[in-house]
Symmetry: C2
């Protein structure tokens, strides 16, 4: 088949909302191209188009955060990807509740069940996007989102997964399988 | 909280099985750290530890593929991550059914509903992992896995999501939400 913009996206993807700050301006943008990259040091990567307002804000601030919001907030998540911070203050327009960052100077979204705070370490051009590699300096979590063995506690959390074309889905609690390790 | 190996992994993650070939040896390895990186050119990235057998195979072959397998194949997927190709031929041990690659010289797994074939373009050291950036040269899909608008057809496909600690989950078909684009 022809390789189209949507043919190689490997859906579904966990959605994150990337936060950045430049001067007094704070902005958030939904992103689906992100991944863990290293254990030691703990590194997290987010690929963002230079066309996005958030792109230059991350370069200026040298910091970013990744806010993971539950499925019942998907309209909010989607909205952060639909409007540009160039034209408005998304915090006001979307009535975002935020809290002061713990180890970085960027506030996080109060509704997030998990927030990864990063200091920018590498900025790598990859095709038409920039991969921002951040060193994780803090992880903020809602109480009880993980069980003892660090498995996401799906009794509490419904993560938000993106299927493309403004379509979202979440996990099926009843489908969980724990495989024995030989 | 302390940043541990499992505290910053942003579960659940879509699982892929990365294939590589060196000489006559073909190997597959489950991986959860991967993401789309660029539309034009179409680039896909996979982060792999240098400790893994697959790591040097990708460097040698200059190619790799990403096999996306359905949830009912999760024992197979998990097994590819539990044993090393250094010690055995996983195709024999796991009785993997494979088919000849379309645009690269690496076979893909017949059970995959989607396969991304990549030519290695960039090899980037990021902390204790290597990010392999591949240019997508072909996408092989099972018939009817996408609907017209390229949304994953969840009537047919249950993707495999990893929750950490050998635990897997899939999507809830009934939870899908399509948001109107303003």
């Amino acid at each position: 088949m022809t390789i189209t913009q949507k043919s190689h996206q490997a859906y579904p993807k966990l959605v994150t909302v990337v936060g950045a700050k430049s001067g007094e301006k704070v902005n958030y943008m939904a992103a689906a191209w992100h991944t863990c990259l290293s254990h030691t040091p703990p590194l997290y990567g987010v690929a963002i188009s230079p066309k996005r307002f958030t792109h230059d804000m991350i370069i200026k601030s040298g910091e970013f955060n990744c806010n993971f919001l539950p499925f019942n907030k998907l309209e909010l998540i989607n909205a952060t990807g639909q409007i540009s911070g160039k034209d408005c203050n998304k915090i006001d327009v979307l009535n975002l509740q935020i809290e002061q960052g713990i180890h970085i100077n960027i506030p996080f979204i109060s509704d997030a069940y998990e927030v990864i705070e990063c200091k920018l370490k590498q900025t790598i051009k990859v095709g038409d996007h920039t991969l921002f590699v951040g060193e994780i300096v803090h992880v903020e979590e809602k109480d009880d989102i993980f069980r003892e063995n660090r498995i996401l506690n799906r009794q509490n959390i419904y993560p938000t997964l993106y299927l493309g074309s403004d379509t979202y889905i979440t996990i099926d609690k009843s489908s969980i399988v724990v495989l024995p390790r030989d």
